[in-house]
């Protein structure tokens, strides 16, 4: 309705509404509220070690959520991250116990992720198969292939230099450094480079983007490759967390990553969203998960299974807000 449009333009912007329109702001507020609430119940929650653990533990989700942000913004979806993570982690572990130099192990692991992304991207962009079908198939292939290749054996006795996630620099855990550096880099990339802008254009309106001279297929291929490389990095953070690697697929990982992005304000319909939001989403989820044992109900700590239900509620809520916001725009 054009008349309503006029009214929206004329009305003085309400600062509170602007704040609510920014999902990042909503998440920061939610994060503060949850933290204060849990700390009030149990002051140990706010100890430095715990906060550092939360950030460190969510790094492998947040890094993949950068890739998922780009994939969803471009109007696609990837649900093969869990399988890709399992495959890459197994590759990393296997290479390292076979005495491949550690830097080369990490490089090859990231490239393996990129290769999976390349395959996904090629099928989506050039053979025009819907992303959900491609990545569902890819997920199944990787999962099956992994079990056939390893029989689900555990990998032990990785060399000492392999434990990247367990180290720290200047008192800050390595995964936190890696997470923040990648977030900063991709924030700049998406917001300030032509390639980044093209991702938003393709997701906002593919046909208009193509008619504006943007090579939309190449953009989608590039997004999937970057996503794959980031999953490769995430898999290193994941594989080096513990002293053993179970060579199978962690369940629910893709949902965790997608939920982070979506509650971070990445619109499932494409075209809008930021990596900062996805980072906050990942931190918020991890905070919620960590806080459950700190809360006592009837003398018992809250069971971890509640996290699944909370996560599901959050993703539905986030999508509802996204849709409501779009309706209001109209």
């Amino acid at each position: 309705m054009s008349t309503l449009t006029v009214s929206r333009q004329l009305r003085a912007p309400n600062p509170f509404l602007i704040l609510l329109n920014s999902q990042e702001a909503v998440l920061v507020i939610a994060l503060v509220v949850v933290t204060l609430f849990v700390t009030a119940l149990n002051p140990r929650f706010l100890e430095f070690g715990n906060i550092s653990d939360i950030l460190s533990n969510c790094a492998y989700v947040a890094v993949a959520a950068i890739g998922t942000t780009m994939v969803i913004v471009s109007g696609n979806i990837d649900i093969s991250m869990g399988s890709a993570l399992g495959v890459c982690a197994t590759i990393a572990g296997t290479l390292s116990v076979n005495n491949v130099p550690i830097p080369l192990v990490f490089l090859l692991t990231v490239l393996a992720g990129g290769l999976i992304g390349l395959a996904n991207g090629f099928l989506v962009a050039y053979l025009r198969i819907p992303a959900i079908v491609v990545t569902l198939g890819m997920s199944s292939i990787l999962k099956g292939g992994l079990i056939i290749a390893t029989q689900g054996k555990w990998i032990y006795n990785m060399p000492p230099g392999f434990a990247l996630s367990q180290g720290n620099l200047a008192g800050i855990p390595n995964p936190v450094w890696i997470m923040f550096i990648l977030i900063a880099g991709f924030w700049l990339y998406l917001r300030y480079t032509a390639q980044g802008r093209e991702v938003y254009a393709v997701g906002g309106n593919t046909e208009a983007a193509r008619l504006s001279g943007i090579n939309t297929r190449r953009v989608i291929l590039r997004v999937f490759i970057l996503n794959g490389l980031l999953v490769g990095v995430a898999s290193i953070l994941f594989a080096t967390k513990f002293s053993s690697i179970q060579s199978n697929v962690p369940s629910g990982y893709e949902l965790l990553v997608i939920t982070s992005a979506v509650i971070g304000g990445v619109s499932i319909l494409g075209g809008t969203g930021s990596v900062i939001g996805a980072l906050l989403g990942a931190i918020f989820l991890e905070t919620t998960r960590t806080s459950l044992p700190f809360i006592q109900i009837g003398g018992q700590p809250v069971r971890a299974e509640w996290f699944q239900a909370i996560q599901g509620t959050l993703i539905l809520l986030a999508i509802l807000i996204d849709i409501a916001r779009r309706r209001r725009m109209r």
Binding site: S2, V6, Y192, G204, N205, E207, R210, I214, N215, G271
Partner: protein
């Protein structure tokens, strides 16, 4: 005798805006009453009140002299008010007869659905609309827009509609369908049906309507018998100021040949097209919807690369396989559907206006923000885009301003050859004149412009030369001096043309 419908001092306020302020309006039986106004003038709100979608905040509505209050559209329908909206409200998977009797299917004595009666009565209704060749068992999804509209009208008549509201009924029709629609409207009028007719095309109002009411910014401006008003008077009433000229075409001397096309083929819609364009020329490309005009333009722009044929740009053979190839050669294409093909609606004015030159705006690794901001500001200024600022999302702007942003995006690429496809469709008169002025001055600066349009006065008013397309071929060419509406329509339509004209629109 009381009026069929009478509105007295109707007002309607939405949060923050007065959509209708004290508007009065009436329709008599057997009358076509045109409702005119720019986008946002309040026409849509008014018809939604009449059809029971909105409830007015103030004022009175009378049907046959009796006060009525509708709380939902069903009540308006029951009293005999039917609205044919721009987006037709039919079920494409169902048949013609099923659509016509949707919700009030005749029953047999046993209470089961009576298909025979439904089909027979559908047949009768369509026959009265001169749609004798339309099969009542055909799926509506297979029909073209004109036939779907007839089904919609038959559906209204099946409910004994006494007042029919037609909202921009000709916007998507071919000129042949328009003629048939006009016949139907006249027939209904003879039968005593009252009609409210909404259109941006003034010539239709003069051809069809008995009276015309103008709204502006939610205010009632005037109601006059059509025989007593002139076109400039109506435009002045709608725009609130005098528009000296809707088609401000400047004289130009064509320069060098910018584009030469020979025997261009692209199955199925482009078949052996040859023509050339010179700098400073505006060439109008007319033809029916489905004649292959837009497809041919998209071949030139590389969106649908050619199967065969040659394209020369400034005398050099060009290979155009993608839009980016075309852009490198200085070709720009402003598509007909700005929502679907022109704009990235979740993006801002700034981001949209730099989109076609994004790669040139990069400094080091990043987009040159300062350059982008100044480009956006100069676009807003040059095209007089009405927006609160360059950071406004384009979806919040009016149609005319959105169209200007699409044009701005392409002017930023400094094209030598510009293709515009239906540049002013669905845009109000004021913005239309501005876009015409802009095209004219661009041509005067040496740009070659190919203008595709179904709006014949626009083609005649703006073109130096007119090409007519039919069934994928160029069939006629007229100079500005020799072209007339009759010649163009004659060339665009001949016997046996219906196969192409009836291409269903997606």
């Amino acid at each position: 005798m009381p009026a069929l419908l009478e509105l007295k001092a109707i007002s309607k306020t939405f949060p923050g805006v007065r959509a209708l302020d004290n508007v009065s309006f009436d329709v008599n039986p057997g009358e076509v009453h045109a409702l005119l106004g720019e986008n946002g003038a309040g026409k849509s709100t008014l018809i939604k009140i009449i059809s029971g979608v909105y409830r007015p905040d103030g004022g009175e509505m009378l049907v046959d002299g009796q006060p009525v209050q509708f709380t939902n559209p069903g009540q308006a329908q029951a009293i005999g008010i039917a609205t044919i909206y721009q987006e037709l409200g039919l079920y494409p998977e169902l048949t013609v007869a099923e659509n016509i009797f949707m919700g009030h299917m005749p029953r047999t004595a046993l209470g089961s659905l009576d298909w025979k009666t439904a089909q027979a009565r559908s047949r009768e209704l369509l026959d009265t609309l001169e749609a004798t060749e339309l099969d009542v068992r055909a799926r509506v999804g297979t029909l073209n827009v004109g036939n779907r509209q007839r089904v919609e009208i038959a559906k209204a008549l099946s409910r004994n509609a006494r007042l029919l509201i037609l909202d921009e009924p000709t916007a998507a029709l071919t000129s042949r369908d328009v003629d048939q629609l006009f016949n139907i409207v006249r027939k209904l009028r003879e039968r005593g049906v009252g009609l409210i007719y909404i259109s941006h095309r003034l010539e239709e109002v003069f051809e069809l309507a008995d009276r015309v009411t103008v709204l502006r910014d939610g205010q009632y401006i005037s109601t006059r018998p059509v025989s007593e008003v002139t076109e400039p008077e109506l435009i002045r009433a709608m725009v609130g100021r005098t528009l000296d000229n809707l088609y401000p075409k400047l004289d130009t001397t064509p320069g060098e040949v910018v584009l030469r096309v020979r025997d261009l083929h692209r199955r199925p819609a482009t078949r052996g097209v040859s023509f050339e364009m010179r700098a400073g020329e505006i060439v109008g490309l007319a033809g029916l919807v489905g004649s292959g005009r837009s497809e041919m333009a998209q071949v030139l722009f590389g969106f649908l690369p050619a199967d065969s044929g040659t394209i020369e740009v400034f005398g050099k053979p060009a290979s155009i396989k993608s839009p980016s190839d075309a852009m490198r050669l200085g070709i720009a294409y402003i598509p007909e559907d700005r929502q679907r093909q022109g704009l990235i609606t979740p993006m801002t004015v700034r981001e949209n206006s730099s989109l076609a030159v994004l790669r040139q705006m990069v400094r080091g690794p990043f987009i040159d923000r300062g350059g982008e901001v100044s480009l956006a500001h100069s676009s807003v200024k040059q095209l007089d885009i009405r927006t609160p600022g360059i950071e406004q999302l384009v979806r919040n702007l009016s149609g005319g301003n959105q169209q200007k942003i699409v044009i701005a995006k392409w002017l930023a690429s400094k094209p030598k050859f510009l293709i515009v496809d239906e540049p002013t469709r669905g845009i109000d008169v004021g913005a239309k004149a501005e876009i015409h002025r802009l095209l004219s001055s661009l041509a005067a600066q040496g740009l070659a412009i190919l203008m595709i349009s179904s709006d014949l006065p626009e083609v005649l008013g703006m073109s130096d030369r007119i090409l007519v397309m039919r069934q994928g071929r160029l069939v006629a060419e007229y100079s500005r001096a020799e072209a007339t509406q009759e010649k163009i329509v004659g060339a665009a339509m001949t016997e046996g043309v219906s196969a192409v004209a009836e291409v269903p629109t997606p």
